[in-house]
Amino acid sequence: MSRKELAEAVGVNPQTIGYLERGDYAPSVELALKIAAVFSAPVEALFSLEPFPPLARTLTKQGDS
């Protein structure tokens, strides 16, 4: 899914999705719930006190196991 598609699905500017991905902006609860609904994921998956590991490292670990 592209940033533009996700942005349209949750009703924000595509640039805002970029800010969220980089961790430069923390979404409101409402926006987080909308994003979680798009991915059918729990909203807790969007928040963490620790920085999320890079996606490439996560995929590599999954591939190894």
Binding site: G11, V12, Q15, G18, Y19, R22, D24, Y25, P27
Partner: protein, 168 residues
């Protein structure tokens, strides 16, 4: 003030370097141009200084015109319903910073005028004050441009600029 064109209803997207350059050009060239014109009457090379000053002021107005049609200016002027929550948060922060700076400039100007009057009355020391219509004209239009563009200037100098991230 945001100048919306039919071609770019969301304003012209500026790269961070361009936006910051325009802001610096606007805030530097305008006062320098005005000062050059101010001192033109007192020097032998008056005409050259006057032309140079006028050129700088025109360049500053050109920078203002580009900023007035930019997406940064749009973000500072659009109704709330049109912006998303991140854009509103950024705008509120920029508006707060711009208000603080503008209020500070007004306060410093008043302090200068008060000190100038005091020094003039008690120590016979004459500091410059605006006296002619041209002086007030320059100050007025400078204040207008500053008031209109200061929030956009703070947005332009954000750590990460929205327009840096156009990949989708």
């Amino acid at each position: 003030m945001f100048v919306r064109s039919a071609k770019r209803p969301f304003g012209r997207s500026l790269s961070p370097a361009t936006a910051r350059g325009l802001v610096i050009a606007l805030y530097a060239l305008y006062p320098i141009g005005c000062v050059l014109q101010l001192i033109a009457d007192e020097t032998a090379t008056g005409d050259a200084l006057r032309i140079a000053g006028l050129s700088l002021v025109v360049a500053a107005f050109a920078a203002f015109a580009v900023l007035a049609g930019s997406s940064l200016q749009r973000q500072t002027q659009e109704p709330e319903a049109v912006l998303d929550e991140r854009e509103l948060a950024d705008r509120n922060r920029a508006a707060y910073q711009a208000h603080s700076v503008f209020a500070g400039i007004v306060l410093l100007s008043l302090i200068y005028l008060m000190l100038r009057q005091d020094l003039s009355d008690n120590r016979n020391l004459d500091l410059w004050t605006p006296a002619t219509g041209d002086h007030w004209n320059a100050i007025f239009w400078g204040a207008v441009m500053l008031a209109m563009t200061l929030p956009a200037a703070f947005l332009a100098f954000r750590k990460s600029h929205p327009d840096e991230d156009m990949e989708e």
